[in-house]
């Protein structure tokens, strides 16, 4: 208690003496970055938890790509459960002459069995709870659709072959609860109206859901009774396994943003290390005197540790508050990608953020402070004893260990944390090496420049270690911003350039066999010839060489998905022009061929399938087994319909097929689209441009959010700069005084400071551009597979950003040097 008081007093004194500002600042930045991410992901977590029960709008759902069998329905009724149906499918709707891709959901009377449906009489009006979905003959739509089409409640909406009045605005739909990316707005209609729209035909892509709800025993009994009788296309979804893709997405986001925040923590840690070292050095004398007057080593330690703990708590609390404010920006950027409004954040993430702050302080700040213990009381007699040379690197093993532990905690995944740590360490070593080389180079340059520059460069070269640390810390901050900003747009541009100008921009799916010819004629007449019409049959892969396919047995997530979902099988006499057979041989086009299959190389590789392997598919309840006889590469960039799996003509004649095609339509010719939808109501039009725009928007938002998190890194980099400047403040004051004594005018001193910081910044910017280019190159060449174009703007902007930003920041924090009275040189002891 007595120590606490003393520590508090010391804290107050050190604070007003300006000793702790940088330490506190670095802590605030690191806690704020962790807290902002924590608060944000917590809000999304809360939405998901709260909606978990509602997420299904039922207690259990049978999900299927075909209408749910009557046997299952009968079992539900036997078990005394309430049931309801919903069918969802994509369709382009018409309002006057405007078209829009929507996600139509048709629901039966019982919907929703759980949760609430809410609507409003017009845009932005007060909501009310609806006990059931829309009555027959009406549709309810999401506000987004009204806004895009520029219509209001009361207007007519053509859905397939039938027009419906829009009677209400759909504001909340329980089982939509958390779709991560909302590409097409919702149209909700009554299930009994579906036949009139003619949209659902054999082979159409529809998600059928049979929802059940009731006593939990009854639900369990039902679950047990149907588990064995479900067909290949049917799947049970309970509360626990609802939206697995969403959970995965959230976990990924949390991991990624969490790790991004850790970068700030590490950079802030460097600032803490610098500041703590200065703090300890400045307390040598105080400790010597305390020891001289009888304080034990333990007491000295206790006092300083208490002081640090108090500082850590206070700065941590400020960081939490800032993080709380900052997360609202993050929620603003990303929030409306998630359906439903976000609840206010809980206070849960505050504690981990505080702990991270304290651990950072411990890991990076403690080593020099612990060594205060060893200060000798003899220092009161002679200044040159009892201190220590700059600490050994070993002390910072604690910091490395803590950072590693924090990374593992953030990633919740040892392997991922290992990869990130390894990558980070390699990057750091590389960046440090480059920074060191650049700093060495500066030393050679200085003979050739004027006094202000020479002095600035000389300072960089003399404080080599500190300069390298600053360049790397700042470079890291600038690098992530450059990488996310410029490299992203460069990659998108490179990718867009790789797509031909007149590539098909519309896909038509769900074309019925009898519509194939009329559609071909229709498109040819409108001057938008199709790229060919292809049949498509959906089937599920059931066995490979007689062994049942188990999605869970694949490590590769892509393979897992492929094994799980339905395949689109097609038939053709000849390979498409953008396909190339690389292994095996294609069947003879002139003669009827045995059933066999040609696979795309990528999918074959993912699933580990080779020539001669036998694949069994279940199509509409019947099995078909075929050998793999050829492997093809496919150029997906052509935007033509293409298939992973193609069979010879005649192999699939017994199964219902729909057709698919794509064509190019200039943006201005929307009339053609309207005519198309009117003439072929059951055909689904997918506007690739619109989908791409949406995807782009999503990417932009995600990147913006990530960038935002990395702004903390840049701020942390600036704190490192500030800490480094602080550490050299006394020297700088003295140097300023010497310069002025020798007749240096203000502008000379200003210029030398600017020269030093602008050079440091330019080096950091160059380093950042180097790192970002390397990253862009790696991503472009190796991940996305198209050439990355080196962007001179990146280097220019990086250097300018660094030189300008750091020059200004450095000058701001050192400008007191300008006011250092020349008489200082007379007072300073050597």
């Amino acid at each position: 208690m007595r120590d606490l008081k003393v520590a508090l007093r010391a804290l107050r004194r050190d604070w007003s003496g300006g000793e702790l500002g940088v330490l506190a600042l670095a802590l605030v930045v690191s806690v704020a970055s962790v807290a902002s991410v924590g608060f944000f992901t917590d809000r999304i977590q809360t939405v998901m938890d709260r909606q978990a029960a509602e997420l299904l709008a039922a207690d259990l759902v049978v999900l299927s790509s075909e209408p749910v069998g009557s046997a299952i329905r009968a079992r539900a009724e036997q078990a005394g459960l309430d049931t309801g149906d919903s069918w969802t499918f994509r369709s382009v709707v018409l309002a006057g002459d405007q078209t829009q891709l929507t996600e139509v959901k048709a629901v039966s009377g019982g919907y929703p069995l759980r949760g609430q449906l809410r609507t409003a009489p017009e845009l932005f009006a007060a909501e009310r709870i609806e006990p059931t979905g829309p009555p027959a003959g009406e549709v309810w739509v999401e506000s987004g659709l009204l806004q895009t089409l520029g219509i209001e409640v009361g207007a007519g909406l053509q859905v397939g072959a039938q027009a419906f009045p829009i009677t209400r605005v759909l504001t909340y739909e329980p089982d939509r609860g958390g779709e991560v990316f909302n590409i097409a707005p919702r149209v909700l209609m009554n299930l009994s109206d579906v036949p009139a729209t003619e949209l659902v035909q054999p082979g159409s892509r529809v998600r059928y859901r049979l929802m059940v709800a009731g006593e939990s025993d009854a639900v369990q009994a039902f679950r047990a009774s149907v588990d064995g009788v479900l067909s290949q296309s049917e799947q049970l979804q309970g509360l626990d396994d609802a939206r697995p893709e969403l959970r995965v997405a959230l976990d990924r986001a949390r991991q990624f943003l969490g790790l991004a925040a850790m970068v700030s923590v590490v950079v802030a840690g460097v600032a803490i290390a610098l500041a703590a070292r200065r703090f300890a050095r400045r307390h040598w004398d105080a400790v010597a005197i305390m020891r001289c007057f009888g304080a034990t080593q333990d007491r000295v330690m206790r006092l300083y540790l208490l002081e640090m703990l108090l500082l850590g708590l206070m700065a941590g609390l400020v960081g939490v508050v800032i993080g709380y404010v900052a997360q609202s920006v993050l929620a603003g950027v990303l929030g409306n990608l998630v359906q439903g409004s976000l609840p206010s954040p809980s206070m849960r993430p505050a504690l981990p953020a505080l702990v991270v702050g304290l651990l950072t302080l411990l890991g990076f700040g403690l080593p020099p402070i612990l060594r205060l213990r060893t200060v000798s009381p003899a220092r009161v007699l002679r200044k040159d004893v009892g201190g220590w040379r700059d600490g050994s690197v070993w002390l910072y093993l604690l910091a490395v260990g803590l950072v590693s532990a924090l990374m593992v905690w953030q990633a919740q995944d040892l392997k991922l944390a290992g990869i990130v740590l390894g990558g980070a360490a390699a990057t750091l070593v590389l960046l440090t090496a480059v920074a060191w080389l650049m700093v060495r180079l500066m030393r050679r340059l200085r003979g050739r420049v004027g006094i202000a520059w020479r002095f600035g460069l000389a300072n960089i070269a003399r404080r080599q270690g500190s300069s390298v640390v600053q360049v790397v810390a700042l470079g890291l901050g600038i690098m992530v911003l450059l990488a996310l900003g410029l490299v992203r747009s460069d990659l998108l541009a490179s990718w867009q350039n790789s797509v031909p100008e007149d590539a098909p921009n519309h896909f038509l799916i769900n074309i019925q066999p009898e519509e194939v010819e009329p559609l071909r004629v229709f498109l040819a007449e409108r001057g938008a010839p199709s790229e060919g019409l292809y049949p498509m049959i959906r089937g599920r892969l059931t066995t490979l060489d007689g062994v049942p396919v188990d999605p869970d047995s694949y490590d590769n997530p892509r393979a897992e998905r492929l094994a799980q979902r339905e395949w689109n099988l097609s038939w053709a006499a000849e390979p498409q022009s953008d396909n190339k057979v690389v292994d095996g041989s294609w069947w003879d086009a002139s003669a009827p061929a045995e059933p066999q299959i040609s696979l795309e190389t990528g999918i074959a590789e993912a699933l580990g399938i080779g020539l001669g392997d036998r694949m069994q598919f279940m199509i509409a309840g019947s099995p078909i087994e075929v050998p793999v006889t050829s492997l093809r590469t496919v150029n997906w960039d052509t935007f033509r319909p293409n298939f992973f799996a193609v069979l010879p003509p005649g192999s699939l004649d017994d199964f219902p097929a729909t057709w698919i095609t794509s064509f190019y339509l200039p943006k201005s010719e929307t009339a053609t689209l309207v005519d198309l939808v009117r003439n072929f109501p059951a055909v689904t039009v997918i506007d690739v441009d619109a989908v791409m725009a949406k995807v782009r928007e999503i990417i932009d938002r995600v990147v913006t959010a990530v960038e935002y998190v990395f702004v903390f890194t840049l701020v942390a980099g600036l704190v490192v700069l500030y800490a480094a400047v602080q550490a050299t403040r006394d020297e700088r004051l003295f140097e300023g005084a010497v310069l002025r004594t020798l007749g240096g005018r203000r502008k000379v001193v200003v210029r030398s400071l600017l020269a030093e910081f602008a050079t440091l910044g330019a080096l950091a910017g160059l380093l950042a551009a180097f790192g970002a280019s390397l990253l862009g190159y790696g991503l472009g060449e190796h991940l996305f597979g198209f050439g990355y174009r080196f962007d001179p703007l990146l280097w220019l902007l990086g250097t300018a950003l660094g030189a300008g930003g750091v020059g200004l920041a450095g000058w701001l924090v050192t400008r007191t040097v300008l006011d250092s009275p020349p008489a200082l040189v007379l007072r300073r002891e050597g």
Partner: protein
């Protein structure tokens, strides 16, 4: 008839300096009157805390007086702003300090170049080299201060002080941080250069031997000039 007197190069009138302290103003210098003629060498002596260094700082325009005024090279220092003072120092004043005050990031040669560059002279490197040669350190030109001994550092400082050919040279305890023998060498160098270049020398010291070498000695006691002795 007044006797012809050379124009004083440094002149202080009613010079005083006070600083604030918890017990009210603390008087460091009080009504100092002083006039130094061109070419003179003057030693200011006195006990620690007598205000020697403060007086030196005021005379050289490194600090501002609380009252009174200083004329340096015919210019009233009170009429100049900080940059004006810096300009005056760059052109006409040199300094040697007890703790050398070399800039650690610059080599010996670069340290000597510094005042020449401040004064925007031409041929900076050649001039600096020559002066460095004069103090016998040509071979050490590329060394950094921390690679030089104390005596060498002070010789660099002397080269730096004389590089611009100043009219007045202020020296603050120039031998204070050196052992006797090294100090002796430095003093000899200082005085020989002083005579060679006709510089006015004002130095602060409590080294009696050093003070004896000056043509005039002023003793400060509690902020006042108490005694003045002149060589015959």
């Amino acid at each position: 008839m007044t006797q012809f007197q050379p124009m004083p190069i440094v002149q202080a009138e009613q010079l005083g300096k006070r600083v604030k302290s918890p017990d009210g103003d603390l008087i460091i210098l009080d009504s100092v009157e002083l006039s130094v003629a061109q070419g003179e060498s003057v030693a200011i002596v006195g006990a620690s805390g007598s205000g020697k260094s403060t007086l030196l700082g005021l005379l050289a325009g490194l600090d501002r007086p609380s009252e009174g005024r200083v004329q340096l090279c015919g210019v009233d220092l009170g009429s100049l702003d900080e940059d004006g003072l810096a300009g005056l120092r760059a052109e006409r004043v040199g300094f040697v300090f007890q703790s050398f005050q070399l800039l650690p990031s610059l080599t010996a040669l670069e340290n000597v170049m510094l005042p020449l560059e401040m004064a925007e002279r031409t041929d900076v490197a050649a001039t600096a080299s020559e002066v460095l040669g004069r103090v016998g350190l040509s071979k050490r030109a590329r060394h950094y201060p921390n690679q030089l001994s104390g005596g060498e550092q002070q010789r660099v400082a002397i080269a730096r002080a004389f590089a611009t050919g100043p009219e007045v040279l202020f020296a603050d305890e120039p031998t204070g941080n050196l052992d006797r023998r090294t100090g002796q060498t430095v003093i000899e160098l200082l005085f020989s250069l002083n005579q060679e270049r006709g510089t006015t020398l004002i130095l602060v010291t409590h080294d009696v031997g050093l003070a004896e070498l000056c043509s005039r000695r002023l003793e400060l006691e509690d902020g006042r000039l108490s005694l003045e002795s002149v060589d015959a």
